[in-house]
Subunit: 161 residues, 2 copies
């Protein structure tokens, strides 16, 4: 749709590069927790706010919110902040990951569950619970795209009325 997207995980990926870590899901997940401990829970959110302001765009998408602390940081900085959760059940997400990795052995399932628990610990469940909108992503990519367009249209309509 032409709007800028800030991917919060990119800041973690950059930090992994600095530290000479391989950017696999496990390393990035652990580093995400480490950075938060070292520099505060909202460190990535603060970097994101700077990046958003630099775009000078009236609409910016932020990808990868994980905790209510981050949501607070965004609300403090952006008057018209809207929180949209994208949701798929465990089964569907696991199927997609196995297909992507072309593997469904036990170790993949274990790593998958570990990652889920890590993200729940950071507070992603609370973020979903307090979202403004939730979009289920359980069907095809095309179905999902059309749902996203519908929800964004509704938000724009609401903001203008």
């Amino acid at each position: 749709m032409g709007y800028p997207v800030i991917v919060m995980g990119d800041f973690v990926r950059m930090e992994a590069e600095k530290r000479g870590l391989k950017p696999n899901a496990e390393n990035l997940g652990k580093l995400m927790l480490e950075i938060r401990k070292e520099k505060g829970e909202d460190v990535v959110a603060k970097l994101t706010v700077e990046a958003v302001k630099k775009t000078n765009s009236p609409i910016v998408f932020i990808d990868g919110v994980r905790s209510l602390k981050e949501v607070e940081e965004f609300k403090r900085n952006f008057e018209d902040f809207r929180l949209i959760a994208v949701h798929a059940p465990e089964k569907v997400r696991f199927k997609r990951v196995s297909r992507r990795l072309r593997s469904d052995d036990v170790s993949v399932m274990e790593k998958f569950k570990e990652r889920d628990l890590r993200e729940l610990k950071v507070g992603i469940g609370d973020v979903i619970a307090l979202a403004d909108r939730i979009i289920e992503n359980i069907g095809s990519k095309e179905e999902f795209k059309s749902k996203v367009r519908k929800v964004l249209g509704e938000i724009a309509h609401e903001a203008l009325s």
Copy 2:
């Protein structure tokens, strides 16, 4: 739709009556935490499982799941357990509560936020994150009813295929 519904909060309400407490939202919320501390996090889930089994119905609705511990208890007992989250954003839920109470003064907002945090602490966010389906309840009652019917139809279809 004619299926039995077990309301988990009813067990807390019964306990409040036993203890001579007024069944208002605040007392029930606190008692919910107390009972869990006294008798274990899944005490209400266990009472619910018994009640579900007594119905002898092939389909039973359970209302009021609050934590992953409870979800585990249901999965252990019911092979075809499906977790459906009903979601509305804070703003919408607050508007509904104020309308119901015919009041929107500050103390209502404070109590409302307190209740939200209490339920997040029990783990309702994690339950929503790991739900099989999420139904947004942001429009009219009729819209919601038709969405529920659609989702239940899809689940039945999936179960039969």
